[in-house]
Amino acid sequence: MSEDAINLEINGRFFQAQEGMTILDVAKREGIPIPTLCYHEALEPAGACRLCVVEITHADWKGWKGLVTACLYPVEEGLQVTTDNEDIRTVRRTVLDLLLARCPGSDVIQKMAAEYGVTATSFKKNETETTCILCGLCVRVCAVKGCSAIATGGRGIEKEISIPFGRPPPDCIGCASCAHICPTGAIEYEDRGDVRKIWGHSFKMVKCASCGHPIMPEVQLDFEAEKSGLHPDYFKTCDACSQQKTVETIRSSFALRAADSRDSVEAIG
C-alpha cells in the first residue's frame, strides 16, 4: 500500500483506505455488511435514510464515541468503527419503525424491518397511501442524467418528491430512470402502445425501425443524441433487432467469401 494510505479499524480488523473514501466505501470493498436504502454508488451520498449508521471512536477521543452515517463520514487516520452493536440496532430499528409508519404497504420496508425484529410500527400509521421513503435517489439520478426535472419540496411532514408547480416538469425527458432506481417502487409510469405516461406527461415513443417495439420517448432520443454526440440512428433499433442485423451482416459477408472457407470442422478435426 502507498505511504499516504489512511489506516482505520472496522470491527476490530485493520484496513487501509485512501483520502476521500467514506466508511461505507471501505466496508463495501471489504465485504462488511452495512444496510442502506438511499445509497447508490453512482450518485452522491445523501445520508437521508439513516440506516447506515455506525459507531465511531478514536484512541485520542478520550472515550468519546458517536453514531454517524457511514455513507457520508470520511475515513481518517486511527478511526475505530463498529458496524453492528445494540446502540446501532436501536437506531436502525427506530428508523425502520418510522419508515414502516410512513409506508405500511411497502414490501421492501416490511422485509427490512422484519430483519431487525420490527413487524408492526409503534407509531401512528400514515393514512396517505405511499411507498415513497423520501430518500431522494430519484432526484439525484435525474440530476446526474442532466435533467433535474424533479426535486424534494416542502418541509417536515409535508416534504415530498415534487414537480414544479404541480405541472408536468418541462425538463423531464421521460427516461424513467427515477422509477428504475427507486428502492421501493414508488414512482409509477405506464407504457401503452407508443405512449409513455410519467409525471403527468404523455410522451410519444420512438419505435424500433425493424420490429416496431417502443424504445424511448422522442424527446429522450433528441436529448441522448445531443449529449453523447452519437447520430440519432443509434437509438432507433432495439437490442434484439440490432443483434439480428449483426448476424445477417456477418452471414452475408461470409456467404460472399464461401469459396475461401476451407477451414471447416473436418480440416481441424
Binding site: 463495501k28 447508490h40 454508488e41 453512482a42 450518485l43 439520478v141 446526474v144 442524467k145 442532466g146 427516461c175 424513467a176 430512470s177 428504475h180 432506481i181 424504445i215 424511448m216 441522448e224 449529449k227 453523447s228 454526440g229 452519437l230 443509434y234 437509438f235 433499433t237 432495439c238 437490442d239 434484439a240 433487432c241 440490432s242 443483434q243 439480428q244 442485423k245 449483426t246 448476424v247 456477418i250 452471414r251 461470409f254 456467404a255 464461401a258 472457407s261 477451414d263 471447416s264 470442422v265 481441424i268 478435426g269
Partner: protein, 133 residues
Amino acid sequence: MERILTITPSRCTACRTCELACSFRHAGRGGLGISRIRAFMFGEGKNQIITCFQCDDAACVKVCPVEALTRNESTGAIEVNADRCIGCGLCSIACPFGHMTHSALSGTAVKCDLCGGEPACAAFCPTQTLEYK
C-alpha cells in the same frame, strides 16, 4: 500485447457449449437465455457466434450517464460495474450490434467481460471456433 477473442464461424457446429460455459461462469447456472454469447444455427459451415466486439470507440461507453462502463486495461474488455449501473438500458439500445443486454434479474446491464482474461467460452469450445490468443 493484448490477447483477443477470435471467432472462426466456419468451424462452429452451433453446439452452444459456449453459451452454457458463459451462463455457468457468470450466473452459476446453465441457461442459454442468460448467456452473454450467442450461437445461431444456420447449417454446417454457416453457423454464427455473436458476442461483444469490445469496440475501441464504443457507443455503450459514450451513452452511459454514470460511467458504469469502463475498459479493463489488462484485457481490453469493456466491463459493467453493476454497483454503479442505474439500469437505464441506454447502452443496450445504443450498441449498434445488439451485444449489450439488460438483465431483468439484476436490473443492470450485462455484457461479455472476457471473464477477466480467461474466457470460459473459448476454454470449453470443442472445435476451436472460439480462441483466445
